[in-house]
Symmetry: C2
């Protein structure tokens, strides 16, 4: 039997375009001799369409698409993920299902058993878990078909009672197929391999792990589908962050031939992050129907890195950098920003903010009588810049990119409605220390981020001679503590026991907790770690925290 | 047996204060002769502490609090809700539990079976469901103890397979006790009564429904605990939106005496909404440690209603209204706003925005060359006002209240980082038509909201002679369509079949869908309907919607 597996980039709710893509790939697979073509989890409708799943018209459109795909299944069978109505009186409305289509109709439906409900996942909100286990018999080959999390019973720390693969194994399968929507994070590709090989070693079966690819606002899927033989050796890895369709012949529990063999080259962590962020920007714009991005260029490293990523994603002609010097801006800042404009080839404007900040200072003078200048005046500068960016965005149809990094988002080192504004947080899940790594990576074939931007001490330049290190610990120490508190979810006592100074740990955690209300109003952030701010980390706002 | 039930307002994570309150009430109940005192769901830790539940130090603090309460249980028993570690290798970390404490220690632990995962609830994120059913035997009385959703198997549209009360009934109980954290919404008090009476009619047992009270950012709990006799007649209703402790004697499956009988007076819907919003504001400030609120006063009805609610919640001396006229502001606007200031007694400032908008217009002129004035200039006005409000807030320690109503939040009739700014959305779940009802209610004992504010045509006053009805349908029609699309989750075709004009329905739904990205960055909104914007309605941002 020849099995084709497909990674394609769907657009949630865009049934016309998605169905066309699916049919194109189905026909391509058929023409190249496939008996069966496999698409990822909820390719129909889109993972995750969230509360759109609660609208009848949306589910009707899913059914219509499934019907259209089934009709095309003549001479080829298809496995594809879709939401399927439960039709039960005592259950949630939907299953997260894999449909087996052949001879023009739906032949079998398999439902997902293990529903993730941690981090960015909330599948119990929509889906009823499966409790029926049966392999699919197709042309004499028995397929143990599972959906994403169904194989994660052993490997995920939040453990499950059910073991779907063990149940299916009782039915004597010849091959395992898992259709997935597994998001990118720095460590996830390795974890997926561990998950797959543990099952293959146990059941001695060849296995196909068919992952989706594409970015949906904050969540980025990386593809990199996996194909294993029964000895748990990798036969093939599909492309990272790209569409792909490949064919394999399976005979007697063995993958006997591979149509396309492009040897997979594992990239460095920073190269993968770079690809993920570029895809994240590109898909955000394409899928929301916009072309052009705007951002403020301070001469600092965060805006420089975001500008470079945006130029790569959208083309430099579609990126507008706005330089907005104040009386506190150093001369090198303007020069560094202009060097970046030259290196990237993006558009630019220079608009000094003095006139507006002076007007506001004078308007507010009576209300501020007798008060010293403080952080208020710094925030006014940041907010005037955001008005300028949003005004150009409104007038010319640009989308504002947010340039806050994860370290400053964590400790609240940013101005709400000021530099925290934007439609998409590009590097909001990248710690400052890693922003430097990204800058070096972007410069790998020649200088794009000016050297001075990389080497100078970070500063918000909101008052004379300000440095980030005036208010914050050095970034390598700060990022290490933040990683333990946010990503590893350690308590203060545990972090201190690791050797960090008590006062420092307390003060960092206090800053993080105190900034929950700011982050609540942040734009969506491209997720590249296993714990990004946003949907994956849900904190009460008015709680009393330990500090 | 004398059973005391307690509603108290805890502060999530504030173990010291919460434990003290619990012990005070426990001792009060004991001194008044109670054998058993019952507190609501997760009173220890706080419902819902969200991802704080993932921190070991938080769970350790819960355990320490439970221990302290148990030690106080001499001569009285206690039922109290708390998160309890599962200690299982194949389960989530926690149960949502009810602990039975007596003789100085934890005697029994009952876990929640039905975990809600719809609307604002995501209990599967944290909790493992229960599968063991056993009544608690205390001094010869058998208690069927359940936790909130456990009784909602029949009455909630999203149905459950398990029926916890049916299982417990096999153990021959004498009384039902349900400890709950059931949030306020317009319709929820009636639904709760239906849930309770359906069980009581089935099992012919007296029942105590012990609900929590207090607001936690967006979610407001209303108390109004319910006490029923076995004939399904209400014996008592505890106070709405207030602390309460009451005692009842139970003999032979009958409530034979009630210590305090204050007859419950059911308030009008608008009176309950008013109470909920006042509590929402008060708790937001108290629990985040702030005293003073600031808001912009336009002379319009939204800001007037929010100012009146804030004055009631915080005292008028703690409320600052800022009048920020522009060249487009009508004379009556300033007068209406000043009348409101006079009527409420709040503080005020007048700061005209002309100087800053002119400065920005002149700074942006080169970038806007050849372009007509459009919505950009309107947004600049709204954003200058937000800079002024945030500056005074930063300088003087005020918290900015957001005054957007649900109708405009729905259709995106507001400026991001402008009038959409603020720490708390006070009327973001109140449709415009209901804002008028609220205004009339606030004026029930005399004019607070100026009559002209109520009777004039709504206008944003961002360009000459602007009226809301220039861009939007009349609010009664708009709100009716929004209710069907957002609260009832009807598709366009279903709404049209109800008799609304097709083009109008399409255009409204298109506006709602197009504003998802704006609402994503909204402040938290006080929830008063069964479907508020925020955590209860989760939509993808880059999806293609039907319109």
């Amino acid at each position: 039997m020849v099995i084709a597996i497909v990674q394609l980039n769907y657009h949630i709710g865009n049934f016309e375009e998605n169905t066309k893509k699916i049919l194109d790939n189905l026909n391509k697979a058929k023409n190249r001799g496939a008996d069966l073509v496999v698409f990822p989890e909820i390719t129909v409708g889109g993972y995750l369409a969230k509360d759109l799943f609660r609208y009848k018209s949306f589910l009707d459109a899913c059914d219509a698409s499934i019907n259209e795909i089934a009709i095309a299944c003549e001479g080829i069978a298809c496995i594809i993920g879709a939401p399927v109505r439960t039709q039960l009186t005592r259950a949630k409305a939907l299953y997260n299902s894999a449909l087996f289509l052949a001879d023009g109709k739906v032949q079998e439906v398999v439902h997902k058993t293990l529903l993730p409900d941690y981090d960015v996942f909330d599948e119990y909100r929509y889906f009823e878990p499966n409790d029926v286990f049966k392999c699919i018999d197709y042309r004499g080959v028995k397929i143990a078909l599972t959906i994403c999390e169904d194989l994660w019973n052993e490997n995920f720390p939040s453990l499950y009672k059910e073991d779907p693969m063990a149940k299916l194994f009782q039915d004597a399968p010849d091959v395992m197929i898992n259709i997935a929507a597994s998001p990118f994070s720095e460590t996830h590709f390795n974890t997926r391999q561990a998950v797959m090989t543990s099952h293959i070693r146990k059941y001695k079966l060849p296995a196909f792990y068919v992952n989706t690819f594409g970015a949906h606002t904050d969540i980025i899927f990386d593809g990199r589908s996996l194909v294993y033989n029964k000895d748990a050796k990798i036969v093939d890895v599909l492309k990272g962050f790209e569409e792909d369709l490949r064919l394999y012949e399976v005979t007697d529990k063995e993958i006997t031939s591979v149509e396309v063999t492009t040897s997979y080259e594992e990239l460095s962590n920073i190269a993968n992050i770079h690809q993920a962020l570029v895809l994240g920007i590109r898909d955000f714009f394409q899928k929301s129907g916009f072309k052009k991005a705007i951002l403020g260029l301070s001469g600092g490293i965060d805006s420089a890195v975001v500008a470079a990523l945006a130029c790569e994603a959208l083309g430099s002609a579609n990126v507008m950098g706005v330089l907005m010097p104040s009386v506190y801006s150093s001369e090198h800042s303007l020069k560094d920003a202009l060097d970046l404009v030259k290196n990237t080839g993006c558009e630019h404007e220079i608009i000094a903010i003095k006139e507006a900040t002076e007007a506001l200072d004078s308007m507010l003078a009576p209300a501020f009588k007798g008060k010293e200048s403080d952080i208020t005046e710094e925030n006014i500068q940041a907010r005037v810049r955001s008005i300028i960016l949003m005004a150009i965005s409104n007038k010319h149809g640009y989308i504002l990119l947010n340039t806050s990094n994860k370290s400053e988002a964590a400790v609240g080192y940013g101005t709400l409605y000021g530099d925290m504004a934007g439609a998409l947080g590009v590097i909001g899940d990248v710690f400052k220390t890693k922003v430097y790594e990204l800058a070096r990576f972007i410069n790998r074939n020649g200088v794009i981020i000016p050297e001075n931007t990389i080497t100078k001490a970070p500063s918000a330049e909101l008052r004379p001679d300000q440095k980030d290190s005036d208010s914050l610990p050095e970034y390598d120490i700060l990022d290490a503590i933040l990683d333990l508190y946010i990503e590893q979810e350690w308590s203060a006592a545990e972090i201190i026991s690791k050797g960090y100074e008590k006062e420092l740990v307390f003060s960092v955690i206090k800053l993080v907790n105190g900034a929950e209300f700011k982050r609540f109003q942040s734009p969506p952030i491209l997720r590249i770690t296993r714990k990004a701010f946003g949907a994956g980390r849900s904190m009460p706002l008015v709680a009393k925290y330990p500090f």
